[in-house]
Amino acid sequence: MNSASLSPIAMHKENIQSSVQKTGQTDRPVEVVAAEEPSLAGRPDYIKVSDFSFNYVPAVRVLHNITMEIPEKQVTAFIGPSGCGKTTLLRNFNRMNDLIDGVSHEGHIYVNDQDIHDRNLEVISLRKRIGMVFQKSNPFPKTIYENVVYSLRVAGQKNKQLLNEVVERSLKSAALWEETKDRLHDSALGLSGGQMQRLCIARAIANRPEILLMDEPCSALDPIATAKIEELITELKQSFTVVIVTHNMQQATRVSDRAAYFFMGKLIEMDDTTQLFSNPSQKETEDYISGRFG
């Protein structure tokens, strides 16, 4: 990874993480590390999308010339009718769409000034910095514990104590600790749908990624869990950049700082959330958020 392109905070965090991984004897919990980070104001263009277009199948364009900036340490909400391309754009941020045969793109996406499609950039190191919660919950057929620590395991983390701490912290953050603390070593597939989704959230934040992508994380959750997740999102933005896709307008207003409205693969409007919802500049946006559409 080109560390020159990282922000000072990210570098700081990177160093600590790697020192933990190398020596494996630091018993400082990661939480302390996070708390120690100086709370600098984030840069406004942490993720920069410039004139980005995307095709799943040749000649069928799903995203059209998207240009946007996503600020650091803020919550950005993607809204728009079903099928407009929110998931597609989100999955481009960690190059998840690379896995699909026949896709192609034009334009650039920069994360912290680094072109993520750069040939020299290792996609694995990119994904290590980005956590993702999928639209459909997809826990591994492993124990709850192993699900949560998966990203640390594949990074080679073997410190048991640290793993235990990560499990507790992550499950607490995802509002799942109380329900699962006595059955951490049971199969995750024995959880309910909503619990699975929260487990996926816990898994995504376990290694404290710089960016968290959440694709409708609350669509399967009850109001209490939803409230907890929203609380979590608000908490997370102290240190991380969050992008959330949601169909729930209230949720968007509650949690997000910035909001982007998509329609038919185009970015119609992006603005501060309060601005976008109270005084949208585009007619389509107004129609959508006032429920006259979709």
């Binding site: 896995l99 045969d101 999928f134 459909k136 997809n138 057929p141 492993k142 998966y150 995504a204």
Partner: protein
């Protein structure tokens, strides 16, 4: 899972709606299939198990005019094996009923079985004191005991107090001595022989190198002398035991009236078939069944047990699994996970599927040509030049047989592994990759564990096919009678170059190659039953592992 099966249940109920002809039609074919399988299995089960069940011995008296008698005698005694009609009717076109007796005493009669027309028999009796004796040679003896002459001249007449006990203990002593002799001759003397052989090879190798020959020669000769002495000591021990085997003598009388004697060292066990109670029969049944499992074969395999064949089959199947599973799984991983899906991969897949249909004998020929001659030959000339021209690996053996079977069953493993890997959902893979795992880590931590039950299914199919196959094995290492097991206590413990015995080949050999097919028939059934049981046991073990895994992950995808 349960939800799913409920759904299936519902749709079944719909399908079974009255007036639906296809239900009855398709159901009938299934029923016929199941019926045939059940019939076949029950025939094998009944015949295979009845081998060990002791039968009554009937003594028949022939009519005055009968020509069926043995020499002048008008008597036969034996186990009633069959009651049937003669294949050819008489001139009047009437069927002739006849019976088949197992009369034993092959050393006297020259045959073991006798067909007698019903019309020739005037009387049938079941004498209480007739004795059935299992012997080392010539099959069973069926006769009346007369007396036992023990070493030192002591004699006990049959019917006297303590005769049975004395005979029993004499037979047991003989059995113990026989085991001891076999241990000395095969184990200890075998070890000495191996040592000598090694010396000879060392000498030969030294000669090939030409330098230092003298020194090696001197050493070798000294060692040889020590070994020779040891050998003579052991041989003397064995000879003494052998002599003891001939000291107790058992006298008996055939139903024909002829008096004979035999040394107790030739006897294995005895019982009075017509005196056995139900409990006695049951215990006899189990002890004979156990003997069948753990004893070595005798009398051209038609007597004794099948232990070497059972063991050989088991070891061969196990080694085959160890070879085929990693091979098949790795190939399937490449095909499913790494290869770019396209025409080439499609063709490869079709080719793999078709490989499963190649006649097994073709694999045998390939194994012989490639593994045995080319690979084995090269190994011999590289690593065992001193033993040439006697081949070590350049002849059929356990390794080549297992490899051939692995090659034969690898398509099965590839196909089912591919299916298993494909069943791991995209969502699961994406979650792993999004967590920063590499492709291989994803395969290793997510895809393979998720596909494991399916992979084990492939292994089960491969095992079932491999354990039951005979034809290719005949070319690459199976023999009728192997002198040694492929596994023993002599380093390196697993002797992959050794020839071995196999239950499938044992069945073929007994049924079609043995001189007395009538005598071998019970063994054929018993061995068949055992092979089926072995395959079932191996499969059950694999299924149990699979269930455990499935429970662990509770992913009811298979």
């Amino acid at each position: 899972m349960s939800e799913f099966s409920q759904k299936i249940g519902a749709s079944k109920a719909e399908r079974a709606a009255p007036g639906e002809p296809m239900v009855w039609f398709s159901g009938m074919w299934l029923a016929i299939g199941i019926l045939m399988i059940v019939f076949l299995l029950s025939v094998i089960l009944v015949n295979g198990l009845s081998v060990f069940w002791p039968k009554d011995v009937v003594q028949v008296e022939l009519t005055e005019t009968s020509k069926a008698g043995w020499k002048q005698s008008k008597y036969f005694a034996g186990e009633l094996r069959k009651t049937q009609q003669r294949r050819v009717a008489n001139e009047a076109g009437e069927a002739i009923p006849e019976i088949q007796l197992f009369v034993g005493n092959r050393d006297v009669y020259g045959f073991g079985f006798k067909f007698i027309d019903d019309s020739d028999i005037s009387r049938r009796t079941f004498p209480q004191d007739i004795l059935m004796v299992e012997r080392m040679e010539y099959g069973d003896m069926i006769a009346y005991p007369v007396k036992l002459q023990l070493v030192g001249g002591k004699e006990i007449l049959a019917g006297e107090q303590g005769f049975d006990e004395e005979l029993q203990s004499a037979v047991e002593r003989a059995n113990l001595r026989r085991d001891k002799i076999s241990f000395i001759e095969r184990g200890e003397i075998g070890g000495v022989n191996r040592e000598m052989e090694r010396l000879k090879m060392k000498l030969k190798k030294a000669e090939l190198n030409t330098e230092g020959v003298e020194k090696v020669k001197l050493e070798a000769e000294q060692k040889q002398q020590v070994l020779q002495q040891e050998y003579e000591k052991l041989a003397a021990q064995a000879a003494a035991l052998r002599k003891q085997q001939n000291e107790d003598i058992f006298f008996y009388r055939l139903v024909t009236g002829e008096q004979r004697s035999q040394v107790v060292g030739d006897l294995v066990s005895f019982y009075y078939p017509n005196q056995l109670t139900l409990a006695g029969k049951i215990s006899h049944f189990f002890s004979r069944g156990w003997g069948f499992l753990v004893d070595e074969p005798r009398e051209a395999n038609t007597e004794g047990g099948v232990f070497p064949a059972l063991f050989g089959t088991f070891v061969m199947t196990l080694i085959m699994c160890i070879l085929v599973v990693p091979f098949g799984v790795v190939a399937a991983i490449y095909l499913q996970e790494y290869a770019k899906q396209g025409l080439v991969v499609r063709i490869v897949r079709i080719a793999v599927n078709n490989l499963a249909g190649v006649p097994s004998i073709v694999y045998g020929v390939f194994g012989l040509g490639f593994f045995v001659y080319i690979l084995g030959g090269s190994i011999d000339s590289l690593f065992y030049p001193e033993r040439l021209p006697t081949p070590t690996f350049g002849t059929g053996g356990l390794l080549w047989a297992s490899l051939t079977m692995a090659l034969m069953t690898v398509p099965v493993v590839i196909v089912s592994t591919e299916e298993a890997l494909a069943s791991v959902t995209r969502g699961m893979r994406e979650a792993s990759l999004a967590a920063g795992a590499s492709k291989w880590q994803t395969i290793q931590h997510i895809v393979i564990p998720g596909g494991l039950p399916g992979i084990i299914t492939g292994m089960i199919l491969a095992m079932a096919r491999g354990a039951g196959e005979v034809a290719p094995l005949m070319l690459v290492g199976v023999v009728k009678l192997a002198p040694t097991l492929p596994l023993d206590t002599v380093a390196p413990f697993v002797h992959l170059e050794r020839k071995f015995m196999h239950l499938g080949f044992h069945i073929y050999d007994l049924g079609f190659q043995s001189p007395d097919s009538e005598a071998a028939k019970p063994m054929v059934f018993a061995t068949t039953l055992l092979l089926i049981v072995l395959v079932v046991v191996l499969n059950a073990a694999a299924i149990m592992i699979r269930e455990k895994l499935r429970k662990k992950y509770s992913s009811g995808a298979f």
